[in-house]
Subunit: 242 residues, 2 copies
């Protein structure tokens, strides 16, 4: 049997948001690697699970390629979309330094990333130009995050923030709010969408100047509107012309 | 029967990228409104189709709300994701000026937007912070597009461009390339992904300085990498630490 690696995104949590394309991969796979809670979501008969901890993405990617070289059909599992702050980049990083693995057949399968699910649940806050920033400073310096926040505010982009606040670095999101306030965003609407598409989903929208750091945790997707983003009834949306 | 409006995204073209959530909406809907080619994709028994031309989004949104007020279950159909440069914002705009319609039950259902499908097909060019810009100047001034391009280049965001080049305004994308060249992006990789996930899909990646305007049309999703985006084998990816 020829091995292969399929890098899949299983969406934000609701089973009905997993594409048939990804289901077909899981039906064919022999092995699944990924962060523990994501691998648990795809458990099924005939699929060997290889859960691993957070922050070992590169090791996990190498493990997947290794198994494929041995003839296994490996699903590399991310939540959301595999190309947005998830496993696809890690697999290509691993491939870059491992010429022997470059013959492995690979495919990337898109999924519903958290910002799209959050945006849909809120209304349409990403209905106009926006940017998408990973607030984790595990792999990049805080100074780069700060510079991107200032420039994105100046450009009047709506912004989607991933990984806003980790238990180990809770002060990061407080600094993010400070930078945004100092960049003229105090009146903009900010939305906190926690556990989107899951039974315990919660949503909260308020002006940035009233937001506090503890409104976000690592299960929260944060969306800051642009200067025209507003409410209609229970919805939050960005008009098409801003 | 109580009417409702479901705003759905049917992905970039491949049927296997339509979520079960959206399929369930289509199974229940009585009516579907949308741009002609998108409505054609959802045709089925028992579903009345109301195709309309491009650029009449607000009229279409009002029509959907009107039918829902009359008790119909209306699917508002966008390609990709309904919240990314698509119909969700138009429905909320229509709702804002029509208090009588504000009691209509509405839900937004996410879909695989073109940039996620293009990114997956290319590798992982959006694997780090990025922005997403609609290059159509139908609804916003060119000066705003230009300002956002300059600031996004300065922030070293990867960029996904929707609607790069219309038949009626072919000069716009040439100006975009000029602004990006003048903003220090000449060595960055740019990818043109046309008809992603369809049988006639085509991909092309090259340094920005070698790109020409006719490489894009309205069926092309364009992704500009950040300064670290690179190739490994046939893939294009942005490392996680840039």
């Amino acid at each position: 049997m020829t091995g292969r690696v399929d890098i899949i995104g299983i969406g934000p949590g609701d089973e009905a948001l997993i594409t048939p394309d990804v289901r077909a991969v899981l039906d064919q796979a022999t092995d699944a690697v990924g962060y523990i809670p994501y691998v648990e979501r795809v458990a099924g008969p005939g699929l060997r699970l290889h859960p691993s901890d957070n922050r070992v993405e590169l090791d996990r990617a190498r493990h997947a390629l290794q198994m494929a070289l041995q003839g296994q059909r490996v699903a590399v599992v991310s939540s959301g979309d595999p190309g947005v702050f998830a496993m696809a980049s890690a697999v290509f990083e691993a491939l870059e330094t491992w010429p022997e693995a470059q013959g492995v057949e690979i495919a990337v399968h898109p999924g519903i990333t958290a910002m799209l699910a959050a945006s849909a649940t809120l209304g349409a806050p990403l209905g106009h130009d926006f940017c998408c920033i990973n607030l984790s400073d595990n792999l990049k310096p805080w100074s780069l995050i700060e510079r991107r926040l200032r420039l994105a505010a100046e450009a009047d982009f709506a912004m989607a923030f991933y990984n806003p606040r980790s238990a180990s670095r809770p002060e990061g999101f407080a600094k993010v709010l400070e930078v945004l306030l100092a960049s003229g965003c105090s009146e903009r609407l900010i939305s906190f969408a926690r556990n989107v598409s899951r039974p315990d989903q919660s949503l909260r929208t308020l002006p940035l100047k009233e937001a506090t750091p503890e409104m976000a945790d690592m299960r929260t997707l944060v969306i800051l509107g642009n200067s025209a983003t507003r409410r209609v009834g229970r919805w939050v949306y960005s008009p098409r012309s801003a």
